[in-house]
Symmetry: C2
Subunit: 491 residues, 2 copies
């Protein structure tokens, strides 16, 4: 984009910033984020390579080019600055109501502390604390990702760090919402023994919570201890402290799940943009529904305000990372983007819906698990193989040297299910097997293809799955759970 | 420190963490921060050098050693993790009062939203927002410092960045305190024409504020427009929006002022530790005073909670940065430490006191200004010169090539005031002049000395100045301003 067009777009977006309309302002800032990102990335490419942040693109014909690595930092930092600048606009109506107050003569006959305290009471400090904790968490994640890109931190050192980064988030959750009960689908409790199993589970959860409460003095339970579930209401299981463990797990899983579905041009950013679109669609279901509760409206507005600028900075990055890539995005971007989704899921109160949107990532993780945890040998890289002759990507293979019974059995089962391709030796023994990532799986299923077609295929499937999940969430979900928090869902 | 001793100290500190005593907990976490820092620094030295974060120590006999640079990142990140972990302890009493509530049967006959809302109302969300905005601001500053160390950002690009980093802080200030009036010492208004000058100034300030309010719709003024200052009360000047500019300026000045008083082993961290001790002493004046207001108590408790862990992580760094240095601290540390002071000054409501504590840094800045702004030629480095023969530090000199009238006049005046050393040519013309930093000035005044003596001398002077300023603040201050916010001060 030409320099002057960029300037014009930037200025135009700035002109449409509207203090009383957070949604419109978020869109304007998103455009500003896009323009900033595409302006900064080419300028920072050489400096990044200069400090050693560079990598080789293995899936291109020679000469092998060295591309700047970790360019996602640019998107992440731009995003953080945008979120800083958004604060006054989001809270503008409250800020202004104070100004109005200060001109109200009846309130201000003397310069009292009363005025100050009224002003302070009216302001939604809890919303501000939510917002700040979210930005803080994202910034910690960016910092962590940056260190990982710079120093290549070991897995065992970095595994729990996102949980520490999400600590402020969990504290705000504890203070502000503290809903720790989950709804149990009625078809489960209607099963024979379902009620008993629930009681049994409940007993152990309460025991665990009791221990935690007596040690820390804090009660994590959102239901009073002798709360009796009313007749005809959905069955609740109060997880207490375990719900916080669950949210920590989400904040660890979400960034890592994006980080492992990676390796071809455009896929890390592409899947993030697709996820963002899915989230946004779900949010709009609530925002444009006629009689949704204020609480649900607020939390989905929160989600939209975080997602829209994210799309802007991501599209800027995608433009440079799309086939043939001119930059790599680095771990920073994967962590950052995964944490954006974890945060809106947690603070937007749809951390369970979040997981169904991450289904392709979860399936990829489960599919990868045997290699990640060493049940089946895992080569250093599991990227698909680039074939110089036809310029297409082929599945890459791992070698099975030791023929233990467990891996052999597992591989044979997966082959029967058509989830793997196996090359056998003369005596029928397994020699090679396609690496277990959904990228390779798609190549096994649909045959070799060019890098960008492969990426588009995966993104298309993800988009389809996502939209199906939104439909499932609001049709089958209410039927299973006996209620929906979205009024236009099936009752 | 031996590995097992470190472990023991770490465990011991952890054991003394007391949820109902934030002060004691801060001390424990400070010790944990110290142990973590001295453990991490030696392990991270090689990785830091590996990615190019290294520099040569110019003030040592050969062979010139390459030391890891930017090791202050370790302190800063450790500090941030500590501040994250401190949150539940600081807000523990509020968190627990909810637990107590949840067992109160009279309140909880049904599972109502009332419980949730009571809980949410009792919690000091504004304090949490303050705390989070402070940590967020420090983290942004650390990130910015890291980028500066990695990429050597140009001055004009980085100058305003601390102001953006402090944006969340200013918004919290706007919402929570919004005190924008300053007290005018009565001796000034008692001067002939003093009242008129104040009126005149007031007019322009109000005009400026009026323009800002009509453009943004926000009122930055903390006094009602027709507020009449009562008789016998101190004269107030309501700065309005200009007070926010002032706080932005503090957040820009404070980090940079520490960054320019640097260049010999131990000085960056040393002055930060000395400043922290001065701040702490001032805070304790309030905390241990018998009848101080709750508001003053709270804001100085806030300051102490931020300063104590800072001392821990800084002492760990000082141990490795003290003469002969094994690591350099980098811009990251200077920015980070300067921002700690800016934050406690702003949120602790003593941003004016903050400036008198930074007096040595301010004097150094003013003294340096002619060289920084190019009135007098400035060589690339202004560090004192190391003399290999006697191992002592000597003042370094700048060369005056063009003999313009302004620099010549200025240098002559400074020489008369004994604030500079000048070397003249055969015809009496100025050839060289000692570089204008207080480090060089001390060498001019007290003669050559070893690097550590020089550092100790500067730190000693700073400590003395600081303690004098505390005394002045609480004795001469009240006399000048007609009141003190500390009850044991002179009335």
């Amino acid at each position: 984009m030409n320099k002057y067009i960029r300037l014009a777009v930037f200025g135009g977006a700035l002109a449409f910033v509207h203090p009383n309309n957070p949604l419109q302002t978020a869109v304007c800032f998103s455009i500003i984020g896009y323009v900033t990102t595409i302006t900064l990335i080419p300028r920072l490419s050489e400096p990044f390579k200069g400090i050693g942040l560079k990598g080789k693109d293995m899936s291109k014909p020679p000469p092998v080019r060295e591309l700047p690595e970790s360019m996602g930092i640019v998107s992440a930092v731009t995003y953080l600055f945008i979120m800083f600048s958004l604060i006054p606009f989001i809270f503008f109506k409250y800020l202004v109501s104070f100004s109005a107050l200060s001109n109200d003569q009846s309130m201000l006959n003397t310069y009292t502390t009363q005025y100050e305290s009224t002003k302070s009471q009216l302001f939604p400090h809890n919303k501000l604390a939510e917002y700040l904790s979210a930005v803080l968490c994202l910034q910690s994640t960016t910092l962590l990702g940056l260190f990982d890109d710079l120093f290549d931190i070991r897995w065992r050192h970095k595994f729990f760090l996102p949980a520490v980064a999400s600590l402020p988030l969990l504290i705000v959750y504890y203070v502000d919402f503290s809903v720790t009960s989950v709804v149990i689908p009625s078809f489960l409790t209607d099963l024979k023994g379902g009620e008993q199993a629930l009681e049994f589970l409940n007993f152990f959860i309460r025991l665990g919570n009791h221990v935690v409460t007596s040690v820390t003095g804090l009660s994590f339970s959102s239901l009073p201890t002798d709360y009796v579930i009313p007749e005809n209401s959905p069955k609740l299981l109060d997880l207490g402290i375990f719900y916080y463990f669950y949210m920590s797990a989400v904040s660890i899983f979400s960034p890592n799940s994006i980080n492992i579905l990676a390796g071809i041009n455009g896929l890390e950013v592409g899947q993030s943009v697709v996820l963002a679109i899915i989230f946004l669609t779900n949010d709009f279901c609530y925002l444009f529904s006629s009689n949704v509760s204020q609480a649900a409206y607020d939390s989905h507005l929160f989600s939209v305000i975080f997602i829209i600028p994210f799309i802007g900075v991501s599209l800027g990055l995608l433009q440079y990372n799309w086939f043939p890539a001119r930059v790599f995005v680095g771990d920073t971007y994967c962590y950052f983007s995964g944490m954006v989704f974890a945060i809106v899921g947690i603070l937007g109160h749809f951390s369970k819906t979040l997981l169904i949107f991450l289904l392709p990532q979860i399936l990829n993780f489960i599919y990868s698990a045997p290699q990640i945890f060493g049940v089946i040998p895992c080569p250093r890289h599991r990227l698909p193989r680039f074939n110089l002759k036809d310029g297409l990507m082929y599945p890459s293979f791992g070698e099975l040297k030791k023929q233990g019974p467990v891996p052999r059995l597992l591989l044979n089962i997966l082959e029967k299910l058509k989830l793997i391709k196996i090359e056998r030796g003369n005596e029928g023994q397994i020699v090679k097997f396609s690496n277990m990532t959904i990228i390779n799986l798609f190549l096994v299923w649909f045959g070799p293809m060019r890098e960008d077609s492969l990426c588009l295929l995966i993104l298309g499937v993800q988009l389809l799955v996502g939209f199906s999940m939104i439909a499932v969430r609001h049709t089958v979900g209410p039927w299973l759970f006996g209620y929906d928090n979205l009024s236009w869902g099936v009752k």
